[in-house]
Amino acid sequence: MNIVVCVKHVPDAQSERTFRESDSTIDREGVDGLLSELDEYAVEEALKLVEAAGEGEVTVLTVGPAGAADAIKKALQMGAHAGIHVSDDAIHGSDAAATSLVLAEAVKKATGGSPELVLTGMASTDGVMGVVPAMLAERLGLPQVTFASELTIADGTVTIRRDGDTASETIVASLPALVSVTDQINEPRYPSFKGIMAAKKKPVEQWGLADLGIDPSLVGLDAAWTTVVSFAKRPPRAQGQIVTDGGDGGTQLAEFLAGQKFL
């Protein structure tokens, strides 16, 4: 089985993330970036499926500026076989819909139009919309099976278990399909020294919009179907009262609640 895994390069959540004054997009240059942590689970799951099947390849696909190559590198070090980096100045500032358009065309090109299995994370750690998987499934005409906390593939069928709000569900679809996975599904491996060395020789395709036959006027900031009007740093929460429990901490807490009319 050949699997395409969509991975996003994101600004590190542990550093100071900001917007660019010039066009209200996320500043991706001033901060360290990395493979979105939640996409590591998708890479790991793809590697496990291929290892269990004893055949097939894992191709990681990212859409993003030059720095996004790091996300591919990390996935290749984990064990993915090949990478595709779609990069084009015209893509800068794309909204979710345009991102899914580029991903869809890249998946088609990578698989000759017929993907077997597309894996994604549950959400990115910067935009955190959690919508690209559904948009991609819509564009590719694939069934979507999302938020998997367990995944099995047998006889051309994908079965997942997911932990919903009101019920734990089993969901079934026939392949080809798009599956998103949660951080409950596995424990992503760390790249081994051997993996790091091997990654250097793995093939990474570089594609632009022209390679995908996408009209540049359909993507990027100006073509976005949504726009950021303004952004503002949230004022830090004024630190409130901190008391050290000297035997009456619980009573003081209750008094605070009463003062705030919670009681």
Binding site: Q14, F19, L38, D95, A96, A97, S100, A123, T125, V128, M129, G130, V131, M135, A137, E138, P143, Q144, S149, T159, D163, D165, T166, A167, S168, E169, T170, I171, V172, A173, A177, D183, Q184, A224, W225, T226, T227, V228, V229, S230, F231, A232, R234, R237, Q239, G240, I242, V243, T244, D245, D248, G249, G250, L253, A254, E255, F256, L257, Q260, F262
Partner: protein
């Protein structure tokens, strides 16, 4: 006035609180029309009308109810085409966002998720989102197509505003493609008798500091009529079910009051609770980052602070 479509969030006609909030918001933008997909519309109609639904489109079709999000997106797309609404308002939960995502592509319309406020601006509908783990507030707009806006629960206070709520059956033939993924088994969660996490006015959460004993957290929650949440550390340890996890990969909550007991306040946890109105923490470590967020903090052992607080709350409530 233009119609505003509101997707009803319900289980067999039992409405989730978010639906009334969405109707309250929709009234600012036009004339709300509720879209009820699945059984139970009779039961829901009264409440939908109470919160301002002029019309209730009912699609009571087994094909729509038994499958996942794709049929609902098709139904909404057909309604968008039929009534050319001013906007489509959808609950910003996992399923709602996926329905919105597919609808956006089908109708070539911009999508805004996780909105915490929606206004009828002078030149078009404006939304507010809280982004980057709550560190920024963004005002955004849809510029193309029908604005599709997914709104978080607990974003607006409920206001009743009775309207006719005229039921109108709407029939759509759901495509086979939309039925390609199906639910083959569903094990309902045991009811706890506590409010639902994302809807609750008060949430009390426990973390690794509970050492696996959630009873002081639950008892304090019950004294306040609160929902119980947990950090990922507590969930990963198997101490509390995943459905209760608060944070980036759990639930995002925005209650009037959030209490964190034995939780350090990692960025991924903050991402799920930072927009709470009032925040309280109990932690043994005075350096714990959670204290940066709090309105009131107790440096102390949760096993003595919480039971004392519980007793005091019960006493004061009589």
């Amino acid at each position: 006035m233009a119609e505003v479509l509101v997707l009803v969030d319900h289980a067999d006609g039992r409405l989730r609180k978010a639906t009334a909030e969405l109707l309250t918001i929709a009234r600012r933008l036009g004339e709300p029309s509720a879209v009820h997909i699945g059984p139970g519309a009779d039961r829901a109609q009264v409440t939908l009308a109470k919160y301002g639904a002029h019309k209730v489109y009912v699609v009571d079709d087994a094909d729509a109810a038994g499958f996942l999000v794709a049929p609902q997106a098709e139904i909404l797309a057909a309604l968008v085409e039929k009534v050319t609404p001013a906007a489509v308002i959808i609950p910003s939960n996992a399923a709602g966002k996926e329905i919105a995502a597919r609808l956006a592509i089908k109708t070539s319309s911009g999508l805004i998720t996780d909105a915490v406020d929606v206004r009828a601006g002078a030149d078009g509908i404006e939304t507010t989102q809280s982004v980057l783990a709550g560190s920024y507030t963004v005002t955004a707009k849809v510029t193309t197509g029908t604005p599709i806006i997914a709104v978080k629960p607990n974003s607006v206070p409920l206001e009743a505003s009775p309207a006719p709520g005229v039921v109108e059956a709407f029939a759509v033939t759901v495509s086979d493609a939309a039925k390609a993924a199906r639910v083959t088994d569903s094990q309902p969660k045991k009811a706890t008798g506590r409010p639902e996490l994302t809807e609750a006015a008060i949430v009390v959460s426990g973390g690794r500091g509970t050492g696996g004993d959630f009873s002081p957290v639950e008892e304090f929650a019950d004294s306040l009529g609160a929902a119980v949440g947990a950090s990922r550390a507590a969930v990963d340890a198997g101490w509390y079910p995943h459905a209760h996890q608060v944070g980036q990969t759990g639930k995002q909550v925005s209650p009037q009051l959030y209490v964190a007991a034995g939780i350090s306040g990692a960025i991924q946890h903050r991402a799920g609770m930072q927009t709470s109105k009032t925040i309280i923490a109990i932690n043994k470590d005075e350096e714990a980052p959670i204290f940066e967020l709090v309105d009131f903090g107790v440096v102390g052992d949760l096993f003595s602070v919480l039971p004392q607080a519980t007793a005091e709350v019960k006493k004061r409530k009589g």
